[in-house]
Symmetry: C2
Subunit: 271 residues, 2 copies
């Protein structure tokens, strides 16, 4: 199979915002945009795996990225098709040869900190030692500022309706993908799915998230092979410790021209 193999997938995007009426402090009726939220149940070879609550922007990429980040599949070639059907809120995933030891993998799970899915199968923490991020990529402060400027100008569900987290994958200051979801881990996973679908490598990329840099967020970025992790929010102790251990270049509290560089200084050029 060639590098650009793609399974047979639907493109079943849902409307992203809805308008409801609310009353403000003066009793005035205010039409208010709110973010969509839909259950999406994943079936692998007709077996029910999990139900994700999602905005529904990229359900196929979400399903694929979920399987990737949960380590349930190792490459896209394992999948024949990924078919979303919103009439039954389900995505049917057909594999080529079944999944090895699905029962064993589903037994151990960690319900983690992050917004969203918050479920990781298997002994995730043990995998950290095996992660080696490339050291030859560099991010300059100028490029970083330019990227933050591009992020700020994105048209987003968040601006209209709030209640979603956003993630972006960038190369230098260029945004390749921007995904929002009601759970921030869904947004991460959808980007992981898109990267596989487009055969995009993480080693020279930058991952941006509006969400907090918790342990699971750092681990996911590292597992996707991405050496730069940027957030406008703060971080947790375990997020910091893992970032330090794997040497990812992690920047938090990125707002305007301000930021804090926490780890992986060797890939960042301030001047």
């Amino acid at each position: 199979m060639n590098a650009h193999y793609r399974p047979d997938i639907t493109t079943a995007t849902r409307p992203l915002t809805f308008t409801v009426e609310a009353k403000d402090e003066r009793g005035t009726v205010i039409p208010t945009a709110i973010a969509g939220e839909h259950p999406l149940t994943l079936y692998i070879d007709k077996r029910e795996i999990v139900t994700l609550m999602t905005l529904g922007a990229y359900p196929e990429a979400l399903a694929i990225g979920y399987l990737r980040n949960q380590r349930l599949i190792n490459n896209l070639e394992q999948l024949i098709s990924v078919q979303v059907d919103w009439e039954v809120n389900a995505v049917a995933i057909t594999t080529r040869n079944g999944l090895h030891d699905l029962d064993g993998r589903m037994k151990k799970r960690t319900v983690t900190t992050g917004c969203g899915q918050g479920t990781v199968f298997g002994e995730l923490m043990e995998e950290i030692d095996q992660i080696h991020l490339p050291d030859n990529s560099v991010l300059t402060q100028d490029m970083f500022y330019e990227l933050m400027d591009h992020v700020r100008h994105l048209d987003s569900v968040y601006k209209h309706a709030g209640a979603v987290h956003g993630c972006a994958l960038a190369k230098g200051s260029e945004i390749l993908y921007f995904v929002e979801d009601v759970g921030r881990h869904n947004a991460v996973d959808a980007i992981a799915g898109k990267m596989w679908l487009d055969d995009v490598d993480g080693s020279d990329k930058i991952f941006y998230t509006t969400g907090r840099l918790t342990s699971e967020m750092v681990i996911k970025a590292a597992q996707m092979g991405i050496p730069f992790l940027i957030s406008r929010s703060g971080l947790t102790q375990m997020g910091y410790e893992i970032a330090h251990q794997i040497g990812i270049t992690m920047i938090g509290r990125a707002q305007g021209k301000h930021y804090l560089l926490f780890t992986g200084e060797h890939r960042f050029q301030r001047t």
Copy 2:
């Protein structure tokens, strides 16, 4: 057993913030407070159930509230002891008579939208029809403003270190509990645990959260029997629909003297 039965519990609070060094945009080293994050694995009668990532402020109440909100236990009397041991990042829960159909309950799970745990066992959505919130409680706008003022003046981990969500349980404008955690569902669950431990009823209470009003957040508040749900953030479509269906009084985007009342207007007096 009397109404104030309490199982034998530890009080194993962890330090909530840590200081690490970061470099800002001028290259200046900035000592920066970050929130704690610790894995806590729940064992029920020596059987491993789940690992939660938590700030560690109220691990015993978190464990109890998790079991309550996941519908794994129906009352506190089922528990003999809840013992947290941070040396092994575990909480050992001993039940009086074991848990009925634990296997069956753990089979079906929904990985939901919210920050934090995001896991709910069983057919949660089917339970919504059975929820009846009391209609005789009233919240006035003045009391609401007073409560928001109290919330604003709380000393919080968020003010020092960010990266946590906060939840409060209030009666009128008086805050009874305030819990922060790296996952907002942990904060909700810890409050559910505290309510049981102190034999506090939800029917005349107000639940405040810094987090978004997603489906799971609305369901949890309703399951705890609380008729008022307030957030400074926005909401999702399913959060709105469920709130409408169960008639909970839901206020979003509460900031200063502004707010939006979405559902359950009959319990709210604007003037």
